[in-house]
Symmetry: C2
Subunit: 166 residues, 2 copies
């Protein structure tokens, strides 16, 4: 099983009218996220489940991924909100039988979770993976045993490396 951890695209700054949770993607953020989604679609990537943090910038990112045909639908999943604990969601997916799922969320959580999946709760420093906005982490999970500490990292990329022409 593959799990993709995808960071939301570039979002507008906070202002007097907008809470952090409401910050939308900028026009540039939408465009780059669409290019990343198109590239994933061209590569044949498909998600059996696509879950997003309930924050607007994450939901909008998931909507773009879904709109490009990467998943039949997406769902908001509150454990993916900023500051979440991997143990709030990691057992959820074990109940499912998916080939590939994608979680759209935030830094530093996604990088922290990736480290925990691969190196375990003790081995993770929590700040050693540079995940840019609309960047992607890919981890192969071992179907047997504890998902935390048994994964293998096969992908870590920013949009720059994915997209032809930067």
């Amino acid at each position: 099983m593959q799990i993709y951890l995808i960071r939301h695209g570039i979002a507008a700054d906070r202002n007097a009218q907008t809470t952090d949770a409401e910050r939308p993607l900028t026009e540039g953020g939408r465009k780059k996220t669409k290019r990343v989604a198109q590239r994933l679609a061209d590569l044949g990537v498909r998600f059996d489940a696509l879950l997003a943090s309930p924050l607007v910038r994450a939901e909008q990112t998931a909507a773009i991924l879904q709109g490009m045909g990467l998943a039949a639908r997406y769902e908001l999943f509150t454990p993916l909100a900023p500051g979440g604990d991997i143990h709030l969601w990691v057992n959820w997916y074990q109940l499912q039988t998916y080939n590939a799922i994608a979680l759209v969320g935030h830094q530093p959580d996604l990088g922290q979770w990736a480290e925990q999946l691969v190196w375990g709760d003790q081995g993770a420093n929590g700040d050693r993976l540079i995940l840019k906005k609309a960047g992607i982490i890919g981890i192969k999970l071992n179907p047997n045993g504890n998902p935390v500490g048994n994964g293998e990292l096969f992908l870590l990329t920013s949009p720059k490396w994915l997209l032809a022409g930067g």
Copy 2:
């Protein structure tokens, strides 16, 4: 400073006439490695130093990278041969003042070294990074202090994710 760990391309099987050290890249391996090199050049990647394991398949990979303009020249560097210890070469580069260097070598060494650079000698499991042939690991090294255990991983990719059209 950025360090790129690049695995050699697909090589011919061993046979009665060829030792492991002499195995050349296959025609398909040369083609895919050239496409990866072209993509890196298009992205503006340049190496101040390009070092290769002395094994033929690694030297041929480095020659392709150099031929695509990614570095002015390449050098063979015996500590990059299979089974090498990171501590045989990690102090070498500290004497230099480079912005970006690339090491062309072998698995499982490259993945092991990447883990050591990022998580330290103790934190590394040594087998948690999936690095395909002609795949690339990118690590940002902290210029201050011990390079082992202070790096940040910013790239891990197989040719599939780098190349348009697979």
